[in-house]
Symmetry: C2
Subunit: 249 residues, 2 copies
């Protein structure tokens, strides 16, 4: 038996999220179906981060066991043969039997994309938050800095989450402006449910001057979800990268 | 009676081209339906360039007559209310009664987008030609130069076209490389059927060193469609801009 690790990208527009569920089309269902058509095996797949409906991935990682005698690096090409055009494996390899893409991850990096333009909306409607309004990007960039560090992020966790601990270490949080496009990049050792989307909603409030950037400190300290900004929609969100120990590449 | 001119963008992925036809969803059908829902009028619409199935527009222009008393610049917002998210009016105005978006156009500009990467294919599958191969971009850029000028483009016209004259004046033809992306921009006083897509197919053959760039001259002179390259697929093509006399804005 071998354990396969796949690196994949997908356009989440047409899926009800990653995780398999009854009566809904999901990325996991398509992947497991492709593997079944390839090897005849019904595998149990684990992913690094269960993306919600409409959320995309540039670097999702999954793992599963197989008895098939396919060279590790050939799995990518082989699985792609059976995948729809909006899900593609970028890379494949064999990995040690205990590898768990979720629990072994050192950190994950997400990108949230905002498009500030009346133009090109038709091409970005499923891939960015399109808002045509005045935003003070300098204030938003300043606000980003207050998220960096080890904090209790309970104020940035959707209610109904099953999380038991709320402390996370954010190692990167920055906003990159390219023309009409604003990309927020955030990296942490773990994320609470909807954490990225609530942080972006809060940055937008800072950009609209609802409060000064330093107020983020107080929102974090409050641990009160109602003080943070709204949850922005899923279509701007990308799971960009999952980092592991070098031994797991 | 007033004549309305609309500037619009659309993602052509989900449409069987611009022009209305039976039993197929088209951009024109959606526009005319939106106008009917807005004003109760069944209008006859003319466009600047009838894009094929899967082809996009950044700056399509259409015109129609109306009896509705809506201020010219408000038509954009009003029609958008009834349009799907993949078709949007960017701008609207009233224009002189004889305005014909097609015959009054001085020139049109198209962009053809190529993505040379194994990555991000899932996000570009409907919006670029995704090819992962070696191309000599310098040779392709050199080849572009041979299309500029007044030529008989019969070799670059799909068979079955109803065109009576094949002479067109190409005022711009260039290739812009940005990372993994290659955008060909071409502007001319008119285009033959599939002309842009055949030119791109020919540029790709030059990029693969099938023949030297200067061979383009001979292909043009031959007026023989079989000597030019293949027609590349529609999804990389964008009608970018239509230019009119200043009096028609």
């Amino acid at each position: 038996m071998n354990r396969v690790k796949l690196l994949l990208e997908y356009d989440g527009s047409n899926y009800h999220g990653f995780q398999i569920q009854k009566n809904a089309d999901t990325v996991q269902a398509r992947l497991e179906e492709a593997i079944f058509r390839l090897s005849g095996e019904r595998v149990v797949m684990i992913c690094a981060g269960r993306t919600d409906a409409g959320v995309h991935a540039l670097g999702q990682v999954v793992a599963f066991n197989t008895e098939a005698s396919i060279p590790g690096e050939r799995w990518a090409f082989a699985v792609n043969t059976f995948l729809p055009a909006d899900i593609q494996v970028l890379n494949s390899q064999y990995i040690h039997a205990s590898f768990n893409p979720r629990f072994d991850a050192l950190s994950k990096r997400y990108i949230y994309r905002i498009l500030r333009s009346k133009e090109h909306k038709v091409f970005n409607r499923n891939h960015a938050l399109c808002i045509h309004e005045n935003l003070d990007v300098g204030l938003m960039q300043e606000a980003c800095g207050f998220f960096i560090g080890r904090h209790n992020f309970r104020a940035f966790c959707a209610s109904g989450s099953s999380a038991k601990t709320f402390e996370r270490l954010v190692s990167k949080c920055c906003l990159i402006e390219t023309g009409n496009r604003l990309d927020m990049e955030i990296e942490a050792n773990g994320f609470l449910y909807n954490m990225v989307r609530i942080i972006v909603g809060t940055l937008l409030e800072a950009g609209r001057r609802k409060y000064p950037p330093s107020h983020i400190k107080e929102i974090i300290a409050s641990r009160d979800r109602t003080l943070a900004g709204p949850t922005v929609p899923p279509q701007g969100l990308y799971l960009a990268e999952v980092k592991y120990n070098n031994t797991e590449k």
